[in-house]
């Protein structure tokens, strides 16, 4: 039925220069526009070798979401360190060998990713507000927030996210690629919601959902939002 053979392909490479993705959306839009269709459904490799040594973790879920949103198909990473490879693999990106770097530079100890709470139990419960500029990650489980998540704040979980107060910031569930993860919130005013890298920004969230109790989940490759 099948035959396995080696093949050579030339793929576009997107070199990542920093991990702050704030302006990336616009930059991608400009590049894609300039490429006039070239990037539509194009497999793209993410090159990590130009990232500064001390740059933090790469927000792959967001990055992959952004790239998909612009019609690219991110297929793998090149360069980078083991921690980054692990994070990339979690998003089902292949780690491609880099021929130029077989003699790799001395590896720094992989920085343990997001600073806040590491957690392995059933989930993480927060009762205080998450303020603009703060970032909370529930590793390996769900995140339950009993207070408001401010605009400019970011909450992430490997599992589900529940917010029992206004959600005004960004919420990313299933950040390691769990497509069954969901976001539940009592009052949706989010700047961005994402499940397993599929995201939607506030501009694309219908007015009928704003201020309502909503759940966000993946159905196939489509992010769905429903009132509860």
């Amino acid at each position: 039925m099948i035959e396995l053979k080696a093949g050579n392909f030339t793929l576009p490479v997107m070199r990542l220069l920093g991990t702050d993705l704030d302006g990336l959306g616009e930059e991608l839009a400009a590049k894609v526009e300039a490429g006039a269709g070239f990037f539509q459904h194009a497999p793209v490799v993410i090159d990590l070798s130009s990232l500064p040594e001390d740059s933090g973790e790469v927000p792959f879920p967001l990055l992959v979401g952004l790239m998909r949103g612009h019609g690219m198909i991110p297929v793998g990473v090149r360069g980078g360190n083991p921690a980054q490879h692990e994070a990339a693999a979690a998003m089902e990106l292949a780690v491609l060998a880099d021929p130029r770097r077989s003699q790799s530079r001395p590896r720094t100890v992989p920085r343990s990713v997001p600073p806040a709470a590491t957690h392995t139990g059933p989930g993480r419960l927060l009762t205080h507000p998450i303020r603009s500029g703060q970032r909370v990650y529930a590793r390996g489980g769900d995140l339950v927030v009993m207070a408001a998540v401010s605009s400019g704040a970011e909450i992430l979980a490997d599992g589900h996210i529940h917010v029992y107060a206004p959600l005004r910031g960004r919420a990313l569930a299933g950040v390691k690629g769990d497509a069954t993860a969901r976001i539940f919130c009592r009052d949706l005013q989010a700047e961005l919601v994402s499940v397993a890298g599929y995201y939607r920004i506030s501009e694309n969230i219908g007015a009928d959902l704003r201020g309502r109790a909503v759940q966000v989940f993946l159905e196939g490759r489509e992010l769905r939002m429903q009132t509860l």
Partner: protein, 269 residues
Amino acid sequence: MARIIVVTSGKGGVGKTTTSASIAMGLARRGHRTAVIDFDVGLRNLDLVMGCERRVVYDFVNVINQEANLNQALIRDKREDNLFILPASQTRDKEALTKEGVGRVLDELAQSFDYVVCDSPAGIEHGATMAMYYADDAIVVTNPEVSSVRDSDRMLGILASKSRRAERGDEPIREYLLLSRYSPERVARGEMLSVDDVKDILALDLLGVIPESQSVLSASNAGVPVILDEASDAGRAYADLVGRYLGEDLPHRFLEAQKKGLLSRLFGG
């Protein structure tokens, strides 16, 4: 042991110095030995609002650098024996405030005072982080505008993580919201956020609402903390606020637009 209060904000010009001066004066008048420190190194102006600018010999940085001792640098208020001002230097740069040096001065003040009020510069630069680091209580001054509220939210996040209390895992800094330059008329016209809007966004205890008032400018031009102007709305609002800080249950005033009579409407009263 003194309680250390930082008066802080994300955005500049929202009323921190005005507030620091009035709170310090209010606490002192109620019999608490109080010191107020100007952390705005390079932009001296607490001494002007307190009306002691002509009596400055040594300043905060001199004390940090051990070029003067605290007793030499503290200026006793002429109106209130319980109140002392530690002015900022106009000439040094902000890096002069070291964590170790600030800690030493605050420790020494804490021995003999009940309250130490720290007038912070705006934002999250060095001077501001030094002013908040040792705080027990934080008063976050906010104007009823979206950008000011957003910045306050950010300050609250930083307060929760970048303080001695946070680093030691002690009980967190107590946070209070002060809404300043509030104009009920402009709120009614939809030009400003209302008290409820701001409370809703920041989810914080409201310590007080200070109305926008001409008396603030006149008072600070005269070197008088506005809390001493008992005829003015702003002065009375600050007096209430001090009472609330000390645990009194006082209703918020000056939240509604004044119904103007025909005469005052005609003559713009």
